[in-house]
Every structure is written in C-alpha cells, then in structure tokens.
C-alpha cells in the first residue's frame, strides 16, 4: 500500500453552476502519501478550484457539476463530504486573518477540537503539544492583532494539525508574508512534513520561493488542464514556466541568458545543489562582461525631505525613530522592511493621517505640518492596498470624479479632467461600466485614476501588486512606470523583492522605526547584513554570481534586470 495515492483524480472535470464553461478539464493526478507537491499556474488557471475540490469546498460551498472521479484516502470525495474530508485534509488559507477565528491563539488552535466535542482538559493538552510543534507556545494567550503575520500563519497551520490530518494543503502561503518570513514558512512546512509524514500540497505561483526547499513534484496548470506533472528539474530545463506566465527562478533565467544549456542532472530546482561545470561558469562570466553597464541614475531635485521624523502611537508604540531621507522629483522609489518596521506609518505621516511628534517634513520647500489631510492630497496621493476598500461609487466615472466633486470643481470642468485621466489609465473604453464588472487589476487602476485626477506630484502606493500573478503584476507595474515617465513621483511600499529590483532604482530600507539603508535596490539586496536585519531575501542572482566567481554581484544583478526587461518587452 506504500505507493497508494492518498488523493486521486481520474478524468475529473468541474463546472461552476454560475459559469458557462468548465473550470477544470480531464484532470488525472495522483498524490501519494508523504509526498510534497507544488501546484503552480497563473491566476484563473484552475489551481484554486482544484484545491477546493480536494478540501470539499467544491461542491459544498461552491456548487457545480462534477465529472469523473476524485478519491481521497480510498473513499469517494463526494461521500466523505466537507466534514469527512476535513479529517483527512487540513487547509491553510491564504488570508490568515480570515482563517484566524478564535479570540486568542490557543482558542484558534482548539477550534477544530471544540467542534469535535473534545473535553476541555484534553483539549488544553493537545493545544499545548501542537503549539510547541509550530512554535507559538509563547503567545498562546495573545489576540490575533498582537502577533505577526508569520505567527498567524503558524497558528493557522497548528489549527489544522490538531485534527491529525494526512494531507496539508497550503493555498498561496507566501502571499501575505514578508520575504524572510516567507522563507521561514517554507522551512517550517518542510520540517513539519518530515516530522509528521503528511502529504503536502502547496498552491503558489512564486515558484522560486517555494523551491527554497526541495519538492518532489511540480504540477503546472493552465486553462483548467494539467500542462506538466513531474520532476521539478526537468520542468526548469524547459521553458514551460515562462510560456505559462509564471516567473522562473531568476538564476535559471540568468543561466539561460548566458547560453548555458540546462539538464536535469545539474539539479536546477535546488540552488544549494546546483551543479555547474567550469565551462558553464565561464559562460556566465563572459555573458556578464558582454552586457553593457547600466547607466547611473540622473541627479534630481529634492521633492520631499524628512528630517528626524519621530512618531509614537497612542498606545506607546514608538513607530518612527528619527526618520531622515529625501524623495526626489520624478523618481520611482521602494520602501521596504518587515511588517511593523514603520514603513506604513511613514506613509501615513507623509499624507497627514498621523501627526509626528518630532522632526520636520518639507515638500517642495513648504513645511507640510501646516497643511491638512485634504491640502496635502493636492500634492501627495495615497493608494490603499485593497481597491475594494477605496471604491464607494458604482460607476467608474463617478468614482474617479469623487475627489473633484468634493473639491467643488464645476461639473463641466470635471468631465474633461476625468476623461483625460481615464485615458491615461487605459480605462476610457470602460468609462460607462459599473465598477463591479472590472477585474481586480482594473479596479486597482480605477483607484489610481481617482487619485491621479487630483494631479498630485507624488503618489504613494501600499503593496500595489499583492496577490497578483506575473501577468497582472507586469500590467500594474508597467502602468506605474509609464506614469513615472510622465513625471509623477512614485513611492511603493512593498514586500516584493523582485518589484524593487526590476522597477525602482532606489530603495529605502526601514527597520525598527529607522532607515537602515538608502541606496540602489541591487546594492541593498546584495548586502547580506541589511538583508538579514530587515527581513529581506537575497536575490538568487547573488548566489549565482558567487558560484560563478563574478566579483560584482550588484552590477551582475543590474545587468540581468536590464537584459530581462529587453527580453520581456
């Protein structure tokens, strides 16, 4: 029975009741006991639906028509039902705030036990055990808002592990974590799997980050079908990932640019064991010297100057400790750092949502402290992470016009201004649509448009690409770069290391309320000390350049990004 599949799809198909076309076609997939499988694919490829079939949300919460068969632990999934499946498959959802149901960590871990009517004393014992396993025993009595994102995810994991499940299903586990915490999550998943022998299924589109620890198999999905199912090394030697709209690990792409022919026995799926011959290393070095150097950024005038900005929250949390730094007119800048490092607070202070107790902020020579929130908004626009939290009108036109109407601009002046902004944002063809008919990315544009219409010189965006796959990410970021070319200063608060490398020449790194680095993105990510302190993640290009004996890792990264941009455009 060793090779028996614990999950077995046979000619499986699924169509949601509300949709005209099936979401999954003819899926044949076996997941064996103790196996670790990565399921990757772009948004809308059906990977989430596949996960919902495994945990029973399809068809219990999302009804539809099923064809073919799905057996879990030898039994028909339909017969097991949602509750039967929950005993075998534990799901860790992407939204760890939504999954954290209990008032405290301990209660949340106990939730499944409570539903099984486990007696209270027994429950306390089991919760303690699991809390040790996922390393949250120090915070058992804490409320969800008192712990970090990484800890929340550990609690979610603990909450499903109490049920002694045989399969752990992770739905986009990296989406809401900072890079270092994401790395730790992958390590934790790996350890838990080794200790418990559970089968692990990870649904993610960030292939490189998942491959920080080896997986047994990668399943690549596209348009509701399985495009590839097998060895990760073989997959990386092909160009299937690129053609499916998934980002390859950067070092793999770099090797391909250098003309190195990848073979599975080089072990390209696991960087620490990547095996390059002397010749291949030479190929990489030669490629590096052939690439033209990247021109330096031009000098620019200062737009916003922060000097010794200090801010403490009412509860006593000292969030900003003397922030000093400049933002230049017309630049595109990243602000990075862990959750709680002060980067969001800094953006609030800039926009006037929070008033600093010390230091000064000057914008184009004017002292900001004399300006109200509304007055600052004429110069500095702020775009929230979730567009659904900003949109309050049903029509796109009205949403974009809101700020102008609130400022008392005459209606006949509003129309041309809104229309012009909609054209810039590529939304003009949709101007008469209801907002609800738009995709997430388009809604994001609507929120950006609704800020741009006020003609700010600078916009601040909070995590503009969170949860987006490569295609939508590229769409949003290219749009922002275009805006930047037209002269708008763009400040991005982000966790995404690649975004920072690819789009923003300069990065400000926050840590514990201070700016610990302010230099080029490539330099930041090639500086192990800053990377460790600020919970960032070194780019794999750094390791690759070390492996190949390239002595200028920052320049290597820069040249790679420049080359990559040419190829992709």
């Amino acid at each position: 029975m060793e090779n028996q599949g614990i999950i077995q799809f046979e000619h499986f198909g699924f169509q949601y009741t509300a949709q005209a076309e099936p979401t999954l076609y003819d899926i044949n997939l076996t997941i064996r006991k103790g196996e670790k499988v990565l399921i990757a694919g772009p948004s809308g490829c059906g990977k989430s639906t596949l996960a919902h079939c495994i945990n029973g949300l399809v068809p219990n919460s999302y009804p539809g028509k099923i064809t073919g068969s799905l057996t879990v632990a030898g039994q028909d999934a339909g017969k097991l039902g949602l509750f039967g499946l929950s005993k075998i498959v534990g799901t860790v959802l992407q939204d760890s705030d939504g999954q954290f149901i209990g008032l405290t960590v301990a209660e949340d871990i106990a939730f499944a036990l409570e539903n099984d009517c486990v007696p209270t004393e027994e429950m306390h014992r089991q919760v303690e055990q699991v809390a040790k396993l996922v390393d949250v025993e120090q915070v058992l009595r804490h409320a969800p808002h008192e712990i970090s994102g990484g800890q929340k995810q550990r609690v979610s994991l603990g909450g499903v592990m109490v049920s002694q499940v045989e399969v752990l299903l992770f739905d986009e586990p990296l989406a809401n974590l900072d890079p270092a915490t994401g790395k730790q999550a992958i390590v934790l998943i790996d350890e838990i799997q080794k200790r418990t022998g559970c089968a692990v299924i990870i649904i993610e589109h960030r292939v490189e980050d998942v491959l920080y620890r080896p997986v047994d198999r990668v399943v690549l999905m596209g348009d509701g079908r399985i495009r590839y199912d097998g060895d990760p090394d073989k997959l990386l030697c092909s160009d299937l990932l690129q053609s499916s709209g998934i980002r390859e690990p950067l070092y793999v792409t770099a090797l391909k640019y250098a003309g190195v022919t990848l073979t599975p026995d080089m072990r390209p799926s696991y960087l620490p064991e990547l095996n390059l011959s002397l010749e291949q290393k030479e190929q990489v070095r030669n490629w590096f010297s052939r690439q033209p150097p990247v021109p330096a950024e031009p000098e620019r005038e200062v737009l916003l100057r922060a000097e010794g900005v200090d801010f403490t929250y009412e509860g006593g949390h000292h969030a900003l400790r003397g922030i000093t730094g400049d933002i230049h007119r017309g630049e595109m800048l990243s602000i990075v750092g862990t959750n709680g490092a002060g980067k969001s607070t800094f953006s609030k202070v800039i926009c006037g949502f929070a008033l600093p107790q010390g230091g000064s902020l000057t914008f184009a020579g004017t002292d900001l402290s004399s300006l109200s929130i509304k007055e600052r908004a004429d110069h500095i626009g702020y775009v929230m992470q979730n567009p659904n939290q900003m949109i309050s009108k049903t029509q796109i036109f009205d949403e974009v016009a809101l700020g102008l109407r609130n400022r008392g601009v005459a209606e006949e002046e509003i129309r041309p201004q809104v229309e012009e902004t909609l054209k810039i944002c590529g939304l003009y063809p949709f101007r008469n649509w209801p907002v609800s008919a738009l995709s997430y990315g388009q809604k994001k544009r609507v929120t950006i448009a609704s800020i741009l219409v006020l003609k700010p010189e600078m916009i601040v965006l909070d995590e503009p690409t969170a949860g987006q796959d490569l295609k939508h990410y590229t769409e949003i970021m290219d749009f922002l770069r275009e805006l930047n070319r037209q002269g708008v200063t763009v400040v991005l608060i982000t966790h995404d290391m690649h975004l920072m490398l690819e789009y923003t020449p300069r990065a400000m790194v926050f840590h514990a309320g201070k700016v610990i680095a302010d230099k080029s993105a490539a330099e930041v990510l090639n500086d192990p000390e800053i990377v460790a302190q600020a919970h960032l993640k070194e780019t794999s290009l750094y390791h690759l350049s070390a492996l190949c004996g390239v002595d200028q890792p920052e320049e290597f990264t820069r040249r790679f990004i420049a080359r990559d941009r040419e190829v992709r455009l």
Binding site: D97, E107, C117, K374, Q389, S392
Partner: protein, 275 residues
C-alpha cells in the same frame, strides 16, 4: 484597540467565578431591578452592588471614563422626565406634597423627588453589576457562557465572532476614513445633515461591502475545520461550575424571586406617602 470591553485581569473572588455564573447573576439581578419599585430593596441592592465592586478590587480610576458618561446620562434622563412631567410622581403615589415652586407649572413635590430617587436607584443598582460583569469576565468566556446557559452554540459563536472582528473592522474603518478624507470627504459640521450622511456613506460602503466579502472566507475557514458538524460543541475556555458559582447563582435567583414576590404581593410601588 486594546481591551475594548475593559476586561481587567486582576485576581479576585469575582474574577474566579465562571462567566456563565456571572451571566446568570447579571440577568437575574437586572430583572429584579427592572421589575421592582420597592425602595428598601433597591437601596439594599445598590449597597450590595457597591460592596461587590470592592470585592472585585476594581478601582474608580479603572472605570472613571464609564462613570462620567453614565452620570451624564442619568442626569439628562431625569431632567427630561421632570421637564416633560413634573407631576408624574403625584400620579403614581396618589398624594401631592408641595415643597417649593419653580417657574410656571414646574412645582417640586416630595412625590416627584421620591419617584426620581427610585429611577436613579434602579439605575444605580444595575450599572455596577454590568460594569462588574464587563470588567471581570474574559471576553473569551462570553460565548462559552452563553452556550452554557442554553443559547444555541451557533448563536453563541456569532457573539464570539463579533468580539473577534471588532478590532479588525475598527482599524479598517479608520484606514478607509483617512483615505477618503484625503479625497475631500468631510463629515464635519460645515455641511448639511444630508451631505454629511452621504459623505459617511462613501466610507461605509467600502467598509461594509469588503466586510461582506470577508464573510465568505470566514465561513469557509470555519466549515473546513468542522464547525456545525455536531449538535453541540465543547469550549476551550469553558469552565466547570464550582460550589461558589452555584451559591452565587442561587443567591441571585432568590433575589429575583423576592423582588417579583414583593411586586406581586404588595403592589409595584413602595409608598411612604400613603397615610
């Protein structure tokens, strides 16, 4: 937002009582106070509630904020009663003892003052008990307690969910509100009422609609962990009744019975004016 309901973690005999016991006591006590106008009983209950307060080791500074609002509220309420109906007590107690007269129809009678005293006592003997319940019961115990006293566990859990998500929703409200203010949304007094409400809607609509999206995620997460499978459930923070719990509950239920009995037997009002 820390400690919304002012739970004060400090060991005392009242803290040690289970939440379910305190809930039963709160309900029995409130009912006793609500039905009765029997002044000696109300006085006794007020005195007892203040003593309980001391036993719970609560300090005035813990609750000074609440005390302020509460006094203002009681004052306003009594003022309104007097303004609308200065002779109300006369009607209830059936006699009219004029003490002195104010403007026009406003005459202060002993009966009216006595009625006000009773209304104030009715508030004064319940409010400390509510405060006591709020300050000494761990919110984690609310839901388990409701379930213990017979509320279905599904509804009990709805209460737990409300407590769990209030801080999240509050934070979200604040963020959305600031971002909308930057777009010129204003709720200050400068605008007309209708305008203010429309402005509020530009904040409330995104808040409420995004919360509704969250409902789906949470209910999925709950079902995936087996919520609603059995006809009952156990509680991590549930506690067994001790003999002290039972004694307190019996005490409060007796109090309620006494209060009802007095109302039933000797009329609702204690009347010192009846000759």
């Amino acid at each position: 937002m820390i400690n919304l309901f002012n739970y004060i973690d400090r060991p005392s005999p009242i803290h040690r009582l289970t939440g379910a016991c305190k809930l039963v006591c709160l309900i029995a006590w409130s009912l006793a106070a609500m039905t009765s106008f029997y002044t000696p009983l109300l006085i006794a209950m007020t005195a007892a509630s203040l003593e309980l307060f001391r036993i719970a080791r609560l300090k005035v500074k813990d609750i000074s904020f609440m005390l302020g609002i509460m006094s203002a509220y009681i004052l306003l309420n009594n003022l309104l009663i007097f303004l609308f109906s200065p002779e109300h007590g006369v009607g209830i107690y059936g006699s009219r003892t004029v003490l002195f007269s104010l403007l026009g129809p406003y005459v202060v009678t002993a009966e009216q003052l006595f009625y006000h005293l009773n209304v104030i006592l009715k508030n004064a003997c319940t409010i400390p008990i509510v405060l006591l319940f709020v300050c000494t019961t761990n919110p984690s115990e609310f839901a388990a307690s409701l379930n213990r006293i017979g509320v279905s566990y599904r509804i009990s859990y709805a209460v737990a969910l409300a407590l769990r998500y209030i801080p999240d929703i509050q934070r979200e409200y604040r963020d959305i509100s600031l971002a909308q203010q930057a777009r010129g949304v204003e709720m200050s007094k400068k605008a007309s009422l209708v305008k203010r409400l429309k402005a509020a809607s530009t904040i409330l609509i995104p808040l409420i609609l995004s919360s509704m999206e969250r409902i789906e995620t949470i209910s999925n997460a709950m079902e995936l962990r087996g919520f609603g499978k059995e006809s009952r459930r156990s509680w991590y923070s549930g506690r067994k009744f001790t003999s002290m719990d039972i004694a307190c509950m019996v005490g409060c239920l007796v109090l309620m019975a006494v209060s009802l009995l007095i109302t039933w037997r000797s009329g609702r009002y204690f009347n010192p004016f009846a000759g």
